[in-house]
Symmetry: C2
Subunit: 209 residues, 2 copies
């Protein structure tokens, strides 16, 4: 019963993939799935899936496998996906706009609740029905709405100061699209979306042969 041990972060990062695959299975009308079958879909070994899940409890039945609907519910609950999350978006440029308009977020419980930008030209205008507010309002708005998570979509040279303001406003999770590594205190989670680095790590293999 390892339920109380803190799961490694690698494991936490795989859970959303399990959840997604289970959603697809559910939509396909599949009721039950083995670790083997689930693993084949997402290129993960059966042993790894079972080990990963064991950090959180016992969800399967020997000889049978996992009930798709039930396992999905459990994982969603573990990940906190049984509720919606209000997210602040900082940066209303091309990228910020694309993020606001992206359907996928809302469909998965990620609600852009406020948009901020430092440019006076942008403030007052709306994107996707949400009014852009000045970045100086971050502390008050974030506090008011109890926002705990933010997306950074500002230029690299502005990202750190934005992160500082967000952290000060008690935001504890940041998804940054800015191509720079952010410094944040312990207890604040930062992840990056960095397509350029990802591509540059593949050119290595292409260049090699």
């Amino acid at each position: 019963m390892s339920r109380t041990i803190t799961p490694p972060d690698v494991v936490v990062r795989r859970l959303p993939l399990y959840a997604r695959s289970l959603r697809y299975l559910l939509r396909e009308g599949v009721n039950s799935v083995s670790s083997q079958e689930l693993g084949e879909r997402i290129n993960v070994t059966a042993a790894q899936i079972r080990k990963d899940l064991s950090y959180f409890g016992e969800f399967g039945k020997q000889g049978i496998g996992y009930d798709v609907e039930r396992l999905l519910e459990q994982i969603e609950q573990i990940l906190g996906l049984d509720r919606a999350w209000a997210v602040a978006l900082v940066g209303a440029g091309h990228l910020g706009e694309a993020i606001v308009r992206y359907e996928g977020f809302r469909a998965q419980g990620i609600h852009i609740a406020a948009i901020f930008d430092a440019s006076p030209d942008k403030v007052g205008h709306s994107v996707g029905g949400i009014e852009i507010q000045h970045s100086t309002s971050i502390p008050t708005v974030v506090a008011q709405r109890g926002i705990e998570m933010a997306i950074i979509a500002v230029p690299a040279d502005r990202a750190q100061e934005v992160a500082d303001v967000l952290v000060k406003a008690n935001v504890r999770a940041i998804l940054s699209y800015a191509p720079t590594v952010l410094q944040v205190p312990d207890g604040v989670w930062v992840r990056y979306i960095d397509p350029i680095s990802v591509i540059h790590s593949m050119t290595f293999y292409l260049a090699r042969d």
Copy 2:
């Protein structure tokens, strides 16, 4: 002299971060940097940087550190960034358009050389000065232009078939924005941009306390 050993993929994925940090240092006018200083900027230990670099050669000077410009050049050469890369983009929806218009790619040697879409409404129109071609043209165009890399920006339920076509056309590296795990043969590299999963792995920590 471990120069000939294949570097682990984790190491290859860190190289672009080193390169980027060195670019910033160069722009700041810094000439020399130690593994310690570089590490502090990107939250990596000095030992890890030295170990990582050792897979590719010897680039520093004892007692001094690394020449920023020279190390950057070396890493860019290792990553194949001393040339431009022609990339095929499949999917000309909102996301595809945002990708074409994204300045960052071109600035970093990633050139969208062709755009494909399966919708007859889209074919013939242009995005960012590039004409959208029908997906059925992927094999011929990719062969003609010698394209080795592709970006997938189609809905999840179309992504696998697109990947299959690309692989058949000898594309060997794919960056997929589709929320599904792709099955590709050995020798083909696939990486994912998956902001939803990334956010869902952070809600875990927020939900927890």
